[in-house]
Amino acid sequence: MTGSPPRTNNGAAAALLRAHRFRAIELIPWILAIAVYFLFPGYRLLATQILVLILFAISLDLIVGYAGIVSLGHAAFFGTGAYTAALLADAGWQEPISALALGAVTAGLLGWVSGWIILRTRELTLLMLTMALGIILYELAKDLDDITGGFDGINFENSAILGLFPFDVLYYTTNYWYAFAFLVLGFLVARTVVYAPFGRSLVGIRENVRRMHAIGTPVQQRMRHVYVIAAMIAGVAGAIWVQVQGNITIGVYEFEMSGNILIMLILGGTGRLYGAFVGVTVFTILENLTETVLGTDPPYWELVVGVALIVTVLFAPRGLLGVFDPLIRRFRERTP
């Protein structure tokens, strides 16, 4: 009997095919982001910062959530992109988009070179090496303060985006949409990567690296590729971070930056892209707005953030978005 191949396990195949399609629910964060712009002009710089940090967290999710490379030094790439953009602007190259592109290149190069060493190691060694890279760059930027501005930092200005939209240093109008546009772009890139066969092979590496070796996947190469992609996106995030604020300090290389972004990602949920949106937003809002409710005497934000993290770890080990998984599964079972 000739004809169509046997179609066993129909559901799983269909689910795989369906996975990369856009669903209506995915519009929610974007609609919220647009609404926030109009509803909270007084918090627009904070909102812009959130958008940029989401992009940064997405880049981290690519390596942590998909490839299983846990990094405590992701700020190395964020900071490199940031310094590239800031120093170019300070030196007179004020066109923002080309500076941002160069930021992606320098961060990507750093990812390529450092990945060559770091990705040969695993687990704790890898963690320590990523951390070391971040610390080395931090100290370097601090010591070269004649160029970088060091601890005090530098203020700089960029020219108008495409020559049409000048950056707004008071209401952050253009700045917000600039960050928004690159978040959309970065998200689409990440999403494409994740749902491509390349992304699937990363998940395979994360889940069972020996098996992937056995079936002939070039594991090392795949990891390095995703590391470079993540570094470039982080570099873009860093560049936008300083461009929208017109200011840079060595804070962009700080260990806290690497640590916090990992916490935010875990808070939202790793390996699901949208975890970055939830985690960053919740963390940043708790961090910055607790005081507007509870005041600063004493400052409660650290307590509130801490309790939120403990509660998440205890009751939602897969992150805040993971809470919805059982609900969705039940919903799916009812509507076949």
């Binding site: 007084g42 627009r44 710089l45 005090d152 240093v169 804070g251 910055n288 005497d297």
Partner: protein, 400 residues
């Protein structure tokens, strides 16, 4: 005609009533309230609130609403977002506070764009005031004390050679640069300059200090933040027998910050420092301030130079409000009022330089003495009306 007149009178009296109606002036106040520098932020706020409490009547019914935001970390982003929120959402008319220089720098463009006056009450990097025409500073610059100490070391202490050791971050670098300029200008020679780790952790000072001892300078100028650093440095100085070797231990007042002076221990006694304010300063305004501060915050509260920054900062804010005479406060009107403004501060007579908008104040050379177990500052010399030397001499970014 009659109607016209009553109408005019009515309108006139309404306008008068509106002018006389008590106004609430919102003042944004940004300072670290959590993290490693929370204590400094607290001191700054205590000073500011004390001034408001003691002088509230001077505003003739108007009130000040101090809206406090936590800058959390020394870097720019959080303080900057807080400043944007204070301006755009809270509509503050004046911005103030700020412990860390990078905080102040990141806020500067906002103050310019929003045309809001920004009173810097602590941050001490010299060129902050060049970043916005709407900034005025009431605190200090690292150059003031450092430069004076350099001159004093060469002229009064008779040092011909000196080595400087510093915590490697901007205040430290500024301080030793100022010292070198003052010291070498007065004929001395700085033979070595040693970075001694970052501000977070106090290092083991022994190797640095041994290097100094081996080179045997007349004076050893040390910039370290108060607290653990100062305790470690002074104990190492004694332990290595550097005093017996004839080396004089000197520094800016950060070395013997009143807040942590007692915790450093008696080893610090004999150190000569230069600073714009110390808690034991003898003048009637400071006596009243010390008394009021302890009455308000308890007898263990320390009226240090950070608190005085907040106190005088609020005096500047009061001056801005009073000189607006009920009208709208703009950056232009505020900065115009502050240019050349003089004030009787607990630290003596201070003024704002009409050109640079920076503080002009006395610098005191003082010695730490052990007063029956309590460490105190004893003023040796007063140098009046010291300007920021960095801008005066146009050094680096200060010259721009």
């Amino acid at each position: 005609m009659f109607r016209f007149t009553t109408g005019t009178i009515l309108a006139g009296s309404l306008a008068l009533a509106a002018a006389a109606e008590a106004r609430e002036i919102k003042v944004g106040f940004i300072a670290p309230k959590s993290g490693g520098a929370a204590q400094l932020g607290d001191q700054l706020e205590k000073g500011a609130r004390l001034y408001i409490k003691l002088h509230a009547k001077e505003l003739g019914g108007d009130t000040i609403k101090l809206i406090v935001r936590d800058s959390k970390r020394p870097g720019g982003p959080i303080a900057k977002a807080a400043a944007q929120e204070l301006i755009a959402r809270e509509k503050v008319e004046i911005l103030g506070g700020v412990i860390f220089s990078p905080n102040a720098m990141s806020i500067a463009p906002l103050a310019t764009a929003a045309k809001v006056p920004f009173v810097v009450m602590n941050a001490g990097t010299s060129w902050i005031t060049t970043l916005s025409p709407n900034i005025a500073r009431v605190s200090f610059t690292m150059w003031q004390a450092g430069f004076i100490m350099g001159e004093h070391a060469a002229n009064a202490l008779g040092c011909k050679t000196a080595i400087s050791g510093y915590t490697n971050y901007p205040p430290g670098k500024d301080s030793v640069a100022a010292f070198k300029r003052g010291f070498e200008g007065a004929g001395g020679k700085v033979i070595d300059s040693i970075p001694m780790g970052g501000p977070r952790e106090a290092p083991d000072f022994t190797p640095f200090f041994q290097r100094v001892k081996d080179k045997n300078p007349n004076c050893f100028y040390v910039f370290v933040p108060g607290g653990n650093h100062a305790a470690g440095a002074s104990k190492t100085f004694v332990a290595l027998g550097m005093k017996q070797a004839g080396i004089k231990f000197i520094g800016p007042g950060d070395l013997t910050h009143d807040l942590q002076l007692q915790s450093i221990g008696p080893a610090i006694a004999g150190t000569t420092i230069a600073i714009h304010y110390h808690a034991d300063l003898e003048n009637p305004v400071n006596a009243a301030y010390r008394k009021a501060f302890k009455a308000e915050y308890g007898k263990d509260a320390v009226n240090d130079f950070v608190s005085v920054g907040g106190y005088d900062g609020m005096a500047a804010v009061f001056h801005i409000i009073k000189s607006a005479k009920g009208g709208k406060i703009t950056a232009d009107s505020a900065i115009k009022a502050l240019r050349g403004w003089t004030h009787d501060s607990p630290r003596g007579k201070i003024s704002i330089d009409p050109v640079t908008r920076d503080i002009v104040q006395n610098i005191y050379v003082a010695e730490v003495v052990d007063d029956n177990g309590t460490l105190r500052h004893k003023t040796l010399k007063t140098i009046e009306a010291v300007k920021d030397k960095c801008k005066e001499l146009k050094i680096g970014r200060c010259g721009k």
